[in-house]
Amino acid sequence: MDITKRRKFKNRIFHVLTFLCTLFGVIILSVLLFSILSKGIKWLSLNFLTNFPSRFPKKAGIYPALLGSLWLIFLTAIISFPIGIGTALYLEEYAKESKFTDFIKLNIANLAGVPAIIYGMLGLTIFVRLLGFGRSIISGALTMSLLILPTIIISSQEALKSVPDSLKQASYALGTTKWQTITGVVLPYALPGILTGTILSISRALGEAAPLIVVGAFAYVSFIPKTPFDQFTVLPIQIFNWASMPKKEFQNVAAAGIIVLLIILLGINSIAIILRNKYQIRIKD
C-alpha cells in the first residue's frame, strides 16, 4: 500500500515537473512577444516598410533590409534545395553501404553542428575573396546555403527513409527503373517531410546575422539591390544596428523590425505547413 502511494506520488511529481518545463518556454515566449509588441507595434506602418534607414527614428524604415533578406532567402533556397535533396537522394537511394558513404554521413552530421560564424569566415575566404564575388548577395546566399545544407540533407534523408519498402518493391515489381521509382513513388511520398525540413532551414537562414557580418553585409545601404552581385543588408543586421544606437527611440524601431522579421518567419513556416498538408492529402487519395 505504502509503495503504491509512493509510486503514484512520484508519478504526480514528474507530471508537474514536465508541465513546469513546458510552461517555462511558453512564459518566456509570451514575455518576449509582449515586450516587443508593446514597444514596436506603434512604430509599424507602411512608411516603415518602404523607407530607407534614417537618423530620425520616426523616418527610419527597413526597405533595403527587407528586400535584401528576400533576395537572400530566395537565392539561398534555389541553391540549397537541389543540392541538398540531390545529396540525400544519392545517399539514401543510390550509394552502397561502404566506409566512404559512412564517412560522408558522419561529416554531414558534424557539419550541422559547426557554429555559424565559421561558415562566415569560410564564405569570406572562398566566395568574397577567392572567387571574387565581393561583398554581394550571391556571396551571402552561397554562405547561407553551406550553413543550412547539412540540416536539409539530414532532414531529407529522414524523410526518404520513412518511405515504406513495400511501396518501392511494388513499384519495382511493375518493372520500373530506379529513376521512375524515385520520381513516381519515393519523392511524392517523402516530399512533405523534405519540404518541412528545408523550409525550416530557410527560416534559420533568414534569422542569421553573424556569418553575414563577416561576409560583408553592411549596416547602412542607401539603395535597393537589383542583381545578385549588388551589396546588401538584411533584417537581423538592421535590427542589431538599431538596437545599439544612442537614441532611445531606436529601441522601438528595432522592436518594429523584429515584428516584421517574425511575421516573415511565421509566413514561411505556414507555407511549409500548407504544402505539407496539401501533399499528404494527395497521397491518401
Binding site: 537618423r55 545601404v221 542607401s222 537589383k226
Partner: protein, 297 residues
C-alpha cells in the same frame, strides 16, 4: 512549388523596380566602413546626400576602426570612419599597397564616466582615481577603496569590449597603455547594454561615448573628471581632459578623384556642423571645418 517560386521572384523584381524612378546627376558607388562611433554621423550625411543625389549608392559598414583600416589599406573601401588616428603598422601597410589618403577631422567625442542616478556620494573623480579603479590588477573592490568616505559596497564596473575605439582610447589615456585594463569588468560591444547595466545597479560605474549619456540623462549621473564636467563646450575646447578626442574620416586619394566621392566628402564637411549635433556629438569650430575643406581642394 513552381508557382510559389515565381510569385516570390515577381515580388522581388517589382519591388526592386519601384526604387528605380529617382533622379539625380551624380552616379556611382561609395564604400564606407569603420568605427561604429562615427557611424551615426556618416549615416546622417549619407542620408542627406542621397536626398540630392539619389543615384549614388552608399554603403556604410561597422567593422570597427581597426577592421575598417584593414580594408582601407587594401584599397577595398573608399572611406574609413575612424575614432582614432591611423597607427604606424596600418600606415606602413597603406604605403606598401600604394594607398595614399587624406585624414579629415569631422567631430569631437567625449568619453563619459557615469554612475547610477541613486549614487549620492560620488560627484567627481580624478584621472589617478580612475587609473586605480580600472588598471590591470587593480586592488579596488569596494567604493571605499577609492576614497575612504565612500561606502564599503562592491563597485560594479561596465565598459566597452576590446574591439571598440572608445576602449582603446580610454585605456591608453587612463591606464597609460592601449588595451591595458583589469579583467573582471562587464564588457559589451553594445553601449546600450552598458547603459542598462549602470542604470540598474546603485553601485555601478561605467564608461562610454558622450552621446549615449545625452540620450539617457534621466537614468544616469555623469562624473566630473578632474573637476570638469563633460559639457559640449568643455569637450569642444579641450577642457574636458583627457577623455575628449577628435573623430576622423580617412579618404582614399585615388577615390577622391571620382566626382561622386569628392562631392560627398565636401558635402560631409559642409553639413557636418548641423548633422553632428543631430546625432548627439560635438561639432568642430567653423574655422576647423574650413581647414578640413581646404585639404581636399
Amino acid at each position: 512549388m513552381k508557382r510559389i517560386i515565381l510569385t516570390i521572384l515577381l515580388a522581388v523584381t517589382t519591388l526592386s523596380f519601384l526604387a528605380c524612378g529617382r533622379q539625380g546627376k551624380l552616379a556611382g558607388t561609395i564604400k564606407i566602413d569603420g568605427s561604429s562611433t562615427v557611424y551615426p554621423i556618416t549615416q546622417a550625411v549619407a542620408e542627406e546626400f542621397n536626398k540630392q543625389n539619389p543615384n549614388v549608392n552608399i554603403t556604410v559598414g561597422i567593422s570597427g576602426t581597426g577592421g575598417g583600416f584593414k580594408k582601407f589599406v587594401n584599397g577595398e573601401i573608399d572611406i574609413n570612419d575612424a575614432s582614432r588616428s591611423i597607427k604606424t603598422e596600418e600606415l606602413a601597410k597603406a604605403k606598401a599597397n600604394g594607398i595614399d589618403f587624406i585624414e579629415l577631422e569631422v567631430a569631437y567625442d567625449g568619453i563619459v564616466v557615469v554612475v547610477n542616478k541613486d549614487n549620492n556620494w560620488a560627484y567627481d573623480i580624478t584621472t589617478q582615481e580612475l587609473k586605480k579603479i580600472w588598471d590591470k590588477d587593480s586592488k579596488v573592490v569596494y567604493w571605499s577603496d577609492v576614497r575612504p568616505e565612500w561606502p564599503k559596497e562592491k563597485i560594479k564596473l561596465y565598459g566597452p569590449g576590446t574591439d571598440s575605439g572608445t576602449f582603446d582610447y580610454f585605456t591608453s589615456e587612463i591606464n597609460g597603455e592601449e588595451k591595458r585594463i583589469r579583467a573582471d569588468y562587464t564588457a559589451s560591444e553594445d553601449d546600450n547594454v552598458l547603459v542598462q547595466g549602470v542604470a540598474g545597479d546603485k553601485y555601478a560605474m561605467g564608461f562610454f561615448g558622450h552621446s549615449y549619456y545625452e540620450e539617457n540623462k534621466d537614468v544616469l549621473k555623469v562624473l566630473k573628471i578632474n573637476g570638469v564636467e563633460p559639457t559640449t563646450e568643455n569637450i569642444r575646447n579641450g577642457k574636458y581632459k583627457p577623455l575628449s578626442r577628435p573623430l576622423y574620416i580617412y579618404v582614399n586619394k585615388k577615390s577622391l578623384e571620382r566626382p561622386e566621392i569628392k562631392s560627398f566628402v565636401k558635402f560631409y564637411l559642409e553639413k557636418a556642423k548641423d548633422l553632428v549635433e543631430d546625432v548627439g556629438y560635438v561639432p568642430l569650430e567653423d574655422k576647423k571645418y574650413q581647414e578640413q575643406l581646404n585639404k581636399i581642394k
